[in-house]
């Protein structure tokens, strides 16, 4: 019985594999292989789909467009002329942004900020995940480190900026360090939480399957914790940009935070808003990227129809 089963299963398996290979080799996409009418229908469908998607996109953008319109026309028509100096309409800000872009200075500031936050964020993720796994796995380490970590976590990162500046100078090191510090805790705490909230039933099941401690960790605990870890990583991404801008405002010669504060003190108000706009876009971009990453790794957790 079992032998015949194996045989049929193998035959099925190879068939499926061959079919998959055939699909993989067929370089022209399957749509073109269809008869012309069907292709036309599918093109029409795709167009309809795109139109309805564009409609919903437009609807979603209403809030943003309204805000931008207020920004453009508010200072021109609603506010007294004196306010207009401090709140320039959108087109002046965009012109300033264009000028900064042409001179290449916005790219320079963006690059400086990005390299700092990526470096700090990377350090935080590496340290947070590895230490988090260690702490969650060794209960005793947790009880020793937990009060200390609580203390550090509840100390606002920016409060420590003077300390970092004193110890590491006003160069890159202090800024990268403070970014790493701020991003470290969300990663660490979510890693610990992720490992600790593994369903005990799954651990029992894995043990009954004869998995040893290492395999249990590798095959059950880690994959089960990944979505929670990525939630921490996303929070860390937001935190790292937040803290970096503030740090750059205090003492730096480049970076978006420096651009904003320097423009303000030089009374280049449109430049200041151009800097702020860039920070918003950067934040949005980073969040979008991390959310996509998080979603990718928690696909299995989303229920049908959710």
């Amino acid at each position: 019985m079992s032998a015949t089963l194996t045989k049929t299963a193998r035959a099925l398996g190879t068939d499926a594999a061959e079919a998959a290979a055939a699909v993989g080799q067929g370089t022209p996409p399957p749509v073109t292989a269809k008869p012309a009418t069907a292709a036309l229908a599918s093109v029409a469908d795709a167009f309809k789909g795109a139109a309805s998607r564009a409609g919903s996109w437009l609807w979603k953008a209403t809030g943003i467009l309204g805000f931008l319109a207020l920004w453009e026309f508010g200072p021109l028509h609603l506010a007294p002329p004196s306010t207009r100096v401090f709140l320039p309409p959108l087109h002046e800000v965009l012109q300033a942004w264009g000028r900064l872009f042409e001179s290449g200075s916005i790219q320079g500031h963006l690059a400086a900020s990005l390299s700092r936050s990526v470096l700090g964020f990377g350090i935080a993720v590496a340290a947070g995940v590895s230490l988090g796994l260690l702490i969650a796995w060794y209960g005793r380490l947790n009880s020793v480190l937990n009060p200390l970590l609580e203390l550090f976590r509840n100390t606002a990162a920016l409060a420590l900026l003077p300390v970092f500046t004193l110890l590491l100078g006003i160069g890159e090191e202090s800024k990268v360090t403070i970014v790493a510090y701020a991003a470290f805790f969300p990663v660490l705490l979510n890693t610990i939480a992720g490992v600790k909230t593994v369903d005990p039933l799954l651990i029992r099941a894995a043990k009954s399957l004869g998995l040893n401690s290492f395999r249990l960790f590798q095959k059950v605990i880690l994959p089960s914790a990944v979505p929670t870890i990525f939630t921490g990583i996303r929070m860390a991404g937001t935190a790292s940009i937040l803290v970096l801008i503030a740090a750059e405002m205090v003492g730096a010669k480049a970076g978006l935070g420096y651009l904003i504060i320097n423009a303000q003190s030089s009374f280049l108000i449109p430049d200041m808003y151009a800097g702020i706009l860039t920070v918003s876009l950067l934040g949005l971009g980073v969040n979008f990227l991390l959310v996509a990453l998080e979603r990718h790794f928690s696909r299995w957790r989303t229920a049908v129809g959710a």
Binding site: M1, S2, L5, T6, T8, A9, R10, L12, G13, A17, D199, P200, L201, L202, R204, A205, A206, K207, S208, L209, G210, L211, R215, K219, V220, P223, S224, V226, R299, W300, R301, T302, A303, V304
Partner: protein, 297 residues
């Protein structure tokens, strides 16, 4: 027939965590239990809540060790989980990040009994072989959240069978399913048992289920769990197409088990015994003064 599994004077005690002002107490879940399971037998195990059914299964699986006595499989004492035994849990316990196929093949990922590691392709082939056996051919790439409760339990059964254990330990596997699915899976389980010749120890709280599935029904007493009686289920023409649940023989056997169990269930209810969790705590147990204060805080 030889005894596949032997329980010799097995007792299991748990230390209940001390509450405020109370010392740690011990809770005896199983008390000097003796039981032999024959090779290739389908034994069902019934007992009131808190009679140590799951505790017993954990001992057989090697997930915990007895406080005293011996658990023998093939004459060898059980020292831990092993590839000769597989467990099917009530709540399926599938790994949600793995597809059905990957769930089934997880037990094959280490080295096999012959010290050889199966390739990815061999594992997948084996997984689809067993998914086919449980009636899920074509569902290889589905994730658990895409499957119904009955299908999940089928995957779990396939996972347990895939690494070819001799003994299947099942802990109320169909309790969470609707009546129709349950009946369907009971039939399929019998079919699989006949086809594979595994020894099955099946825990249930359903008397019907116990009598329908088991060649013998072991009845446990209220806590501390002891073996109260073993009922040999004798139903003529079991393999026929007839609805055996309505035959006089079935009704008679069912009544026998019911009578045995009835007193114990009442005893357990009066004492307020509830399910003991794997860590030895019984959170639903009627609270003493201290624990009540604690839970109120």
């Amino acid at each position: 027939m030889t005894a596949k599994i032997s329980l010799r004077n097995v007792s299991k005690q748990f230390t209940v965590r001390p509450g405020k002002g109370t010392a740690a107490t011990t809770l005896t879940a199983i008390d000097s239990l003796n039981l032999d399971v024959r090779d290739g037998e389908f034994l069902t195990l019934v007992g009131p809540s808190g009679s140590g059914k799951t505790t017993l299964l954990d001992l057989l699986a090697g997930l915990s060790t007895p406080t005293s006595g011996e658990v023998l499989v093939d004459g060898q004492p059980v020292t831990g989980p092993g590839k000769d035994r597989a467990v099917v849990f009530q709540q399926y316990a599938l790994f949600p990040w793995r597809t059905a196929s990957a769930n089934v093949s997880i037990g094959l990922e280490g080295k096999g009994a012959d010290g050889r590691k199966l390739s990815r392709r061999e594992r997948a082939a084996k997984a689809s072989e067993y998914l086919k056996l449980v009636g899920l051919a074509g569902f290889e790439d589905r994730f658990p959240h895409e499957l119904s409760g009955g299908m999940k339990q089928r995957v779990a059964i396939a996972r347990s069978l895939a690494y070819e254990p001799d003994v299947l330990l099942m802990d109320e596997p169909f309790a969470a399913l609707d009546a129709q699915t349950r009946e369907q899976l009971q039939e399929e389980l019998l079919r699989i048992w006949r086809a594979t010749g595994k020894t099955i120890v099946f825990i249930t709280h359903g008397i019907d289920e116990a009598v329908y599935l088991g060649q013998r029904v072991a009845v446990l007493s209220a806590r501390p769990g002891r073996l109260k009686a073993i009922v040999e289920v004798e139903i003529p023409d079991r393999d026929g197409d007839e609805d055996i649940r309505s035959t006089p023989a079935f009704v008679e056997q069912r009544h026998k088990v019911w009578t045995l169990l009835h007193d114990e269930v009442r005893l357990a209810q009066d004492a307020g015994h509830r399910k003991i969790l794997p860590d030895g705590s019984a959170p639903d147990e009627p609270a003493t003064q201290e624990t009540r204060e604690r839970s109120a805080a």
